[in-house]
Symmetry: C2
């Protein structure tokens, strides 16, 4: 989708919906389009054009920009403008540093009642796999890892994980998405749930840690190509 097409899309939205908390609404609009891949990493977000399309002032748009910047979804270059973030190899390393810290620790956390949630996600992932539904598999994978961290029951940690997962979506958009990437992880996730149900927490954490290492290496290889 080109920048101009996104502009037209935004303009349509602006007319039909009324926005409470305009700045946050603008941020949400941009975020959803970036995460859906309609705005590709590296695209410049021109202020004047977006203001016009959304029917908001530059001031409001810039407020939205600062919010997206804090989420690492967007890069600001002084006096040059804002661009959809383009994760580097270092960014990927940082993402996995956080994930390798959070997720195995969350697995060890004796999360009480998350098991049926996890089972449901696995079921959805398998259904997507047999249909060859790539976005479905990707979504289920994100849901899975989010649910893992949710075991800790902390809002702050959930927010951090959400940010990291959002950045992961950018990583996928910024490289030529290998359609088969998510497929093997469906059964890896299933195995983790199995180990959890068997009460083998340490084994599940170990397996997850190794799996994260593998995924990181795979993404780094793809990005440096």
């Amino acid at each position: 989708m080109t920048f101009d097409e996104v502009l037209a899309d935004l303009q349509a939205q602006a007319k039909t919906t009324k926005h409470a908390e305009t700045g946050l609404w603008v941020a949400a609009q941009l975020r959803s389009r970036i995460e859906a891949g309609k705005l590709k990493p590296g695209s410049k977000l021109a202020e004047e054009a977006l203001c016009e399309a959304l029917g908001v002032s530059r001031n409001t748009l810039r407020e939205a920009f600062t919010a997206l910047h804090a989420e690492h979804i967007v890069t600001r270059i002084p006096n040059r403008g804002v661009f959809v973030a383009h994760p580097t190899a270092d960014d990927i390393r940082e993402i996995y540093r956080v994930r390798r810290f959070l997720e195995p620790a969350a697995v060890l956390w004796s999360g009480d009642a998350s098991m049926e949630t996890l089972a449901g996600i696995i079921k959805a992932a398998r259904a997507a796999a047999v249909d060859g539904d790539i976005p479905g598999m990707a979504g289920a994978n994100q849901d899975f890892h989010r649910a893992i961290v949710e075991r800790a029951g902390s809002e702050r940690l959930n927010n951090l994980m959400d940010q990291v997962l959002a950045e992961m979506r950018l990583v996928f958009h910024s490289m030529a998405a290998n359609p088969a990437f998510h497929e093997p992880y469906v059964e890896d996730n299933a195995k983790i749930v199995e180990l959890l149900e068997a009460g083998k927490l340490a084994a599940a954490a170990d397996f997850l840690a190794g799996y994260l290492d593998r995924a990181e290496a795979q993404l780094l290889a793809a990005v440096e190509r």
Copy 2:
């Protein structure tokens, strides 16, 4: 310190220093005064008075407010204004949820070269203890826990820990500070470093977890009084 005195103080600062990135500078000024306890939890931050004192526009001040709000340092009530945050019992529980998750896991992390940093902090804490220097002990304690999380080597995790520690400072300011609160933790921290130096990571993590539970209970009891 009263609100008016802080205003005079800010006005003096505004004239002598030049600010790059005005919004961030304003946020830093307010943050430092809040964390130093000059602005007490519950104080209202009136827009017009602060604008005048700082010599910035309301627009800029509000930008600073949103930054502080994101850090949970400040509470926004729509159409009523912003107030220095006043941590509730639930806030304390959330803080310790994060700390109990991050810190023991970070201890287990085979952090390489953080030992001399930790040793230095312990030394400073003991020096403050013999002097009866309460702020010194509190500062060393914060440094210690920050250094623990730093072992993971992740910028995001460090930021999260910084935020949590900033909220901890608010907790101390919002309750009648028991001067002896920090004293026993000097030797508790020392014991953790000892266990780490002996390579007993699991024991160190366990001890730290119990210690956090104890501190949380102590703070909750003090707040609900």
